[in-house]
């Protein structure tokens, strides 16, 4: 009678703890079942011993402790089956660094089973009602029928959780590297010197040699890049000419100076086609950010031409700002004019 009451009280306690833990800690093991905190290999049972080791980053110590507890639990069950032999071999391999932690990850294969995929063997944990195995889809039935496999399941979960702490150390540094690459490529693409589609393609091909593990390229190739500018020549004061011009850079490069890809300098070969009939100009161009200055020579004309290109991309982008500035300037001029008129009238 006493023993029955004790069992009942223990069972109620386990259910209560499991229910409260379920709300706060979500202790799911395999098959979506909640862990029994009274099991010697449950997280609740070993937490106080394992957590300090993990906090001190003594992972090897934590794995050894789990292995010892696992062996202890299995000794109380029966002789080792092939499942247990394979599992212990996998544990040894893991501790020796020859296999990874995902060997201990439960793989859900549909609603009816979860699996541990070890190197040498797959251990299946049936989840559903199974008349052959005498299972009803409830954890307690499984645990009472297969205590050895239950121990394996709990130990796998412990190793998987503990080793997650170890891997967590490197998730931050790896995420930082990926973040940096992401920011760099975004900067190159959307903040750097705008690329025409063929330049975008060519730069991708050229920098294809850089896999994602390498830093983001700091150079950009300029290729048949057209832009609008102004060409000026002044062989003498009388002969000074200025005309709208289209510049094409057949080949060149840009070097970025910061990690945000907002500043750059570069140089290109330059061909210009003026709007007046002076023939094509050939020369070179230097670039700093959105500003470019070139020097060209034309076959039928003496003297050199200077090509100025405020990269019109920026002009187009800042149209609103320019219009506002122009309005302010015109407003100021009008005001001055009206004041001047008034002064003249009063005189």
């Amino acid at each position: 009678m006493k023993a029955t009451s004790l069992r009942l009280a223990t069972a109620l306690f386990v259910i209560a703890v499991a229910a409260s833990a379920g709300a706060a800690e979500n202790p799911i093991i395999w098959c979506g079942w909640q862990a029994d905190p009274a099991h010697p290999l449950s997280w609740a049972a070993v937490r106080n011993e394992v957590q300090p080791l993990l906090a001190n980053k003594n992972y090897r110590g934590a794995y050894q402790l789990i292995l010892a507890k696992y062996r202890q639990a299995q000794e109380a069950v029966r002789e080792r089956t092939p499942n247990a032999v394979s599992f212990e071999a996998e544990l040894q391999d893991f501790m020796g660094g020859t296999t990874g932690r995902t060997s201990f990850q439960f793989i859900d294969r549909g609603p009816n089973e979860s699996q541990l995929l070890l190197k040498a063997k797959t251990i299946t944990f049936p989840c559903g009602p199974d008349t052959k195995l005498g299972l009803d889809g409830v954890y307690a039935t499984f645990a009472s029928k297969f205590p050895e496999q239950t121990n394996i399941g709990y130990a796998a979960n412990l190793i998987f959780v503990a080793s997650g702490d170890e891997v967590q150390n490197l998730l931050g540094p790896a995420a930082d590297v990926i973040d940096n690459r992401a920011t760099g490529y975004r900067g190159l693409l959307l903040d750097g010197l705008p690329m025409w589609p063929w330049e975008l393609y060519l730069n991708g091909r050229l920098f294809g040699m850089h896999s994602l593990e390498s830093p983001v390229p700091k150079y950009q190739v300029v290729f048949f890049r057209p832009s609008v500018g102004m060409e000026i020549t002044w062989p003498s004061q009388e002969e000074a000419k200025a005309e709208a011009s289209i510049g094409v850079e057949p080949i060149g490069f840009v070097r970025y100076t910061g990690s945000d890809y907002k500043n750059w300098w570069g140089a290109s070969a330059l061909v210009t086609l003026g709007t007046a009939d002076h023939g094509a100009g050939l020369g070179v161009l230097g670039r700093y950010n959105n500003y470019a200055v070139g020097v060209t020579k034309r076959k039928n004309t003496d003297g050199v031409f200077m090509f100025f290109s405020y990269d019109f991309y920026d002009l187009v982008n800042n149209k609103e700002k320019r219009d506002k500035a122009a309005d302010e300037l015109l407003g100021g001029l009008r005001k001055n004019l009206e004041e001047g008129k008034k002064q003249l009238e009063s005189k």
Binding site: G100, K121, G128, L170, P197, N203, L212
Partner: protein, 382 residues
């Protein structure tokens, strides 16, 4: 209370603002509510404590780039036509084209597939979001592993495929010598981590997604990785290949009448036969709206939402998961939506979709994909 598990959602072609996944999340929530496991859940947000949805957007990169092309071409507008050489005239005319919807659609697929710098930018954004979320959430919560899933839709299946493969196979830490720095700071720990974890904590031996859900898979048509989708690491783990697979289970959801996924169709049996235990490709032929390609339409089906909830929502028990399978067999889930109650309407809708299915392998290119997208849009609007 922190949410239990995490599902990354990766969108397909077209405009997707930050709230693009709300419909899909609502559809999943509505499905969950009809199961006993959610009887006591908050009926407004039944999955609120169960799954953290992380929708990832990348189409703003395509849009910004197309704007840049447009602005570059627009610089020639102030000049007279007579002043422009003919190649420049052609370029100038392009600026008006970039606003067209077709170009925006075409742009997404072509910029991704054809331009490495664009692709790198997109994939790195996706990988950075996934990596940072996993790092900040952690791998376990008080003794319970956190489960991670990835769902890609349409072009998003290609992006998911490429990003997951690269995340798993790139030696991230070697490049920045982060491990060397760690070894300098704490020699013993640094050495142990280098030996046991290696240069990529996201490699399959260290980290595996519980499940990958590919909805209307385009990855064979558009993939950009060195390994094609039949041979890459984006596959379900099988016995003995822990170092090669990024997920525990792989689902390929393909509606019978969805023309998008039929271009270079992904078939699990062609991919991994005979080792296909961890991969599933259920038959889907329900009809609730004219555009069967829509993500929300896919998610209505118990064969689709069942595994998603089964893997990631703790309250969705195995009995609920089995019930989801049964709802198809016992007719509780009707194959026809309320708008298709009459036989003639069904036949008409099926005929319209069948007409869009690619006829031969010569049809399998990006141009055909875009034509299909446009036709589906027309169907939806009609």
């Amino acid at each position: 209370m922190p949410k239990s598990n995490v599902l990354f959602l990766i969108h397909g072609i077209g405009n997707h603002s930050d709230g693009w996944a709300l419909d899909a999340i609502k559809t999943l929530g509505n499905a969950a509510k009809s199961y006993p496991g959610f009887a006591n859940a908050n009926q407004e947000d039944p999955l609120g404590d169960e799954i953290e949805f992380v929708p990832i957007t990348y189409n703003e990169i395509f849009d910004a780039l197309l704007e840049r092309f447009k602005d570059l071409a627009a610089q020639f507008e102030p000049l007279n036509d007579a002043q422009l050489p003919s190649p420049i005239k052609k370029i100038e005319k392009l600026s008006g084209e970039f606003d067209k919807e077709t170009v925006r659609y075409l742009g997404d697929a072509i910029l991704y597939r054809g331009f490495r710098l664009v692709r790198n930018t997109v994939l790195l954004k996706v990988m950075a979001t996934i990596a940072r979320k996993i790092q900040s959430t952690g791998l376990s919560r008080d003794g319970t592993p956190v489960k991670y899933g990835v769902l890609g839709h349409s072009l998003g299946t290609t992006v998911a495929h490429d990003a997951l493969h690269l995340l798993a196979t790139t030696p991230w830490l070697q490049a920045d010598d982060a491990l060397a720095k760690l070894k300098q700071l704490t020699p013993e720990l640094g050495q142990n981590l280098a030996d046991r974890v290696g240069n990529n904590p996201f490699s399959p031996k260290n980290f595996m997604f519980d499940a990958v859900f590919m909805v209307s898979n385009t990855s064979r048509l558009l993939f950009t990785t060195d390994e094609d989708p039949y041979h890459s690491t984006v596959r379900p783990v099988g016995p003995g290949d822990m170092k090669q697979a990024v997920c525990g289970t792989f689902y390929n959801f393909d509606h019978r009448l969805d023309p998008v996924s039929k271009l270079c169709k992904f078939r699990i049996h062609d991919a991994w036969r005979p080792d296909v235990e961890g991969a599933q490709e259920p038959t889907l032929d329900h009809l609730y709206e004219p555009n069967v390609h829509n993500l929300s339409h896919y998610l209505l089906h118990p064969y689709v939402y069942g595994p998603i909830l089964g893997h990631l929502a703790p309250s969705f028990s195995r009995a609920d998961w089995r019930e989801a399978w049964n709802r198809v067999d016992n007719g509780k889930f009707s194959r026809w939506g309320p708008e298709y109650s009459s036989e003639s309407l069904r036949k008409k809708a099926e005929a319209a979709l069948t007409k869009l299915l690619p006829k031969s392998s010569s049809d399998e290119n990006i141009g055909k994909l875009i034509a299909i997208y446009e036709s589906l849009k027309d169907l939806e609007e009609a």
